[in-house]
């Protein structure tokens, strides 16, 4: 139980990552694959934030006097995740537009029926 409460963010993040990878590998519908990519993205972001966490830490913002600089969480992973969220949105939009074009061309989103996409 102690192990679980100490590492709950890691467990949650890798739970999301494995759910996303499983959806990408197993599902046949293209929209579901894109949803899997989005879940994987969320898991990776959560993992990066969890790595930067410090026990009983506060956000790295000196919004009022009296905040201790020793007690703040790491700002570098948060800045990286800010980048990663924007890139995730960009990838999602581009993937959805490609899915729209595939549906217009083949009339289906099932990856088994699209010849060039079979594996």
């Amino acid at each position: 139980m102690d192990f679980l409460s100490n590492n709950i963010y890691y467990i949650g993040a890798f739970g999301l990552i494995f759910i996303g990878l499983f959806i990408i590998l197993v599902k046949h519908n293209l929209i579901k694959v894109i949803i899997g990519i989005s879940i994987l993205d969320t898991g990776v972001n959560l993992f990066l934030i969890a790595v930067g966490y410090i026990n009983k830490g506060t956000a790295p913002i000196f919004s009022k006097p009296g905040l201790d600089a020793k007690n703040m969480v790491d700002p570098v992973p948060q800045a990286l995740v800010l980048t990663a969220i924007v890139i995730g949105v960009a990838i999602l939009a581009l993937a959805l537009s490609l899915a729209i074009r595939l549906y217009q061309h083949y009339g289906t989103l099932d990856l088994r029926k699209i010849k060039e996409q079979r594996w």
Partner: protein, 227 residues
Amino acid sequence: MRKIISIILLAIIFIGIILTLCKIPFGIHKTKVGQYYIDKGREETGAVNIVTSVVVNYRGFDTLGEVTILFLVAIGLGAVLSNFKEKGKRKIEPASLILQTGCRFLFPLILLFGAYIFIHGHLTPGGGFQGGAIIASAFLLIYLGCHGKKINEVASKTTESIGGLVFIVIGLIGLTVGGHYFLSNFMPKGQINTLFSAGIIPIIYIAIGFKVGSELAGVIDNLMEKS
């Protein structure tokens, strides 16, 4: 068969990750560079929000790459969805009076909130990307609530270009006037923890806010109109 192969693959990845994570315990200090930014960030950049000072000042070049990726995606989306054929008008039922009035009432308030988020990026949580996303959500509300209203594409593209240009020009001025590197903070830092402080950080975040807002609104426009 495919499921079994996938599960075996995931199990191998799982073992590798567990072996790595045993060496990264949760909740302790890990990097020295983060502590340096927290200790020195206020004096060196003038921003109270350390994440903002990392994103715009210490790693501003990285942010320029990120903005470029967003720009490429907006262009690529337009290119992929460009030659679509209109297959007859879809029959659209007009929304009720309450929905339309509510959208028109909320639209300027959401714009104001987004502007607040990106102007105060160096003081409170938030910044250009978050404020831009909120502004784009206002346009999404208009697209969903009031049918037939569209964004002005020329104005959107112009705003986007001006935002990007302001970012690059400020970086180049910093290269020539201020220090010896791109995006150096050449303006006066001012009184800390006030609105007019932190040198170039608020200007760059305002530019990023306009750019991201108009780009995401363009993406929403492409996906709603051409699908």
